[in-house]
Symmetry: C2
Subunit: 305 residues, 2 copies
């Protein structure tokens, strides 16, 4: 089975890794959010693409929950001493990725090409595709003013009230041909348990993606990132409340209404199945927390079933 | 006495350091070449400004002859493994300088401002000024084609035949107000023993500089970078031959003809004094190799005499 996974960062990385346990990784395509990409110190940084490729390469830093294993911080330490902007931590190994990407982009390569090169280098067999090679930027209107994604997420630890979210550049952006082909030709589209509002929505807003999902709705399966009213990681539950959604799997179902045929929810949310089904969405209940390899396999099996 | 030093990299750094031994460093202004500045991996790198500020801050790497002391190479090692462009070596500490500069420039700061900020941070009391905030680029037409400065100098170890040198952007560039004021108001202009063709000429080609030197010719003192027919460091002698100059202090005098009133040459070149004087240039003879602090003081004294 050839599948395509709409992907944010950590949650998607773990789901793709789980899927790779039960199917050929080369038959998985990750269509990855680039709304939180940034240019910092002149470097083009793609946090979601890097999180997934580092994880699939087995290079991820499990202690930190982000970045590369065995990381060092020489450049950042020095930059902090210079009085430079050091709130967005970039490890020495990680910086090499950004230097490589930026140089290749300056030479005329697209993010799609650079991602392929990096994945080849790291032996990542899953195909990762930035949803677009156009520049899009997720922006937050908050109680303290307008913030870029990483200002909101990292500098302010997603601890400010958000009034609205917009994806700058999305209207004028186009999904790449590779992305459209992957979405059209796969047998199943999976929406990873990433933050619907800030990881998946920027993908959906890129021209062509939402319409395609709607047209293939019966083949689209979403894994709920909200379990028992909370996000495993990050501000998904809080943001859903702030933006007027119920902060449960039901809110997730409402958000994806019209785009998905099936939803996978956690055992603890079994009681919500009926209400989700009443929206015309099939429900599978399983353990969605991937605490170990068995859990990961089980979830992957349900998603592919 | 307030002085201004036209400066390339290493030779200029050493001369300014020598001058600082015999006068108040804050009365020295270095007007620094930016023709070999480059953008690499998206980072704005200013090799001459960095060489001088690192040296004056006492942070220079004496073993390497360039870069920072106590340097590490984590990012470069990783970048090389990624298959990235690693021929232009950037240490981890050094990278912090380039990240800082690039971020500040992206925020709207000029190179002049960033240089001041870095020098303040490092406690460098000499004022360093990029000759221009416009982009200029020294380009080499060589036997193997057109090369950028660092391709010629670093990638090819300045070991290819050069047919001609041009400074792209110079015609449209303007010296900064600070540079023009420094050149106009100082009591003496010193041309450092830097490479005349590739370190000093790009400064002279920036609009306003050559004319100003010609008008103050009697106050301009050049220190010959060629001693006994050889450059202490770098390709000055070879380039002078390739471009039709005599590769001695006489060739240097010819190159600066009309711009300088005095030239300082090494003891070993004493026999050339008469021929230089016949060009209407006064000559001082001393030890110009700064092998130790005493040599440095002596040379500084002669330059200021």
């Amino acid at each position: 089975m050839v599948i395509t996974v709409l992907s944010g960062g950590v949650g998607a990385a773990r789901l793709i890794r789980a899927l790779s346990l039960v199917m050929d990784p080369s038959e998985i395509t990750g269509v990855v959010n680039v709304g939180d990409d940034l240019v910092m110190h002149g470097l083009t940084i793609c946090p979601d693409l890097d999180t997934i490729s580092y994880t699939l390469a087995g290079l991820n830093n499990d202690e930190l929950g982000w970045g590369l294993a065995g990381e060092t911080w020489r450049v950042m330490d020095e930059l902090r001493q210079l009085g430079g902007a050091a709130w967005f931590a970039l490890g020495d190994r990680d910086l090499a990725t950004h230097l490589y990407r930026t140089q290749r982009i300056n030479e005329g390569a697209t993010k799609t090409q650079v991602t392929r090169e990096l994945c080849e280098h790291w032996g990542v067999r899953t195909r990762l595709l930035p949803v677009t090679n156009d520049t899009i930027a997720t922006i937050f209107d908050t109680e303290i003013g307008r913030l870029s994604f990483q200002e909101y997420f990292v500098a302010h630890h997603h601890d400010v009230v958000v009034h609205s979210i917009m994806v700058q550049g999305a209207v004028a952006s186009t999904a790449t041909d590779e992305v459209m082909a992957a979405l059209e030709s796969c047998s199943r589209i999976i929406i990873a348990p990433s933050n619907p509002l800030i990881s998946i929505d920027p993908i959906l807003q890129v021209r062509g993606v939402r319409e395609l999902l709607a047209s293939r709705r019966e083949d689209v399966v979403a894994v709920s990132p909200i379990i028992d009213g909370s996000a495993l990681k990050g501000p998904a539950d809080r943001l859903m409340r702030e933006l007027g959604y119920v902060a449960t799997a039901i809110g997730v179902a409402d958000f994806y209404q019209g785009l998905i045929g099936t939803m996978v929810i956690d055992e603890t949310d079994r009681k919500l199945a009926g209400e989700i089904e009443s929206r015309g969405i099939k429900v599978h209940v399983t353990t969605t927390i991937m605490a170990n390899r068995d859990d990961a396999r089980r979830l992957a099996g349900v998603v592919l079933a």
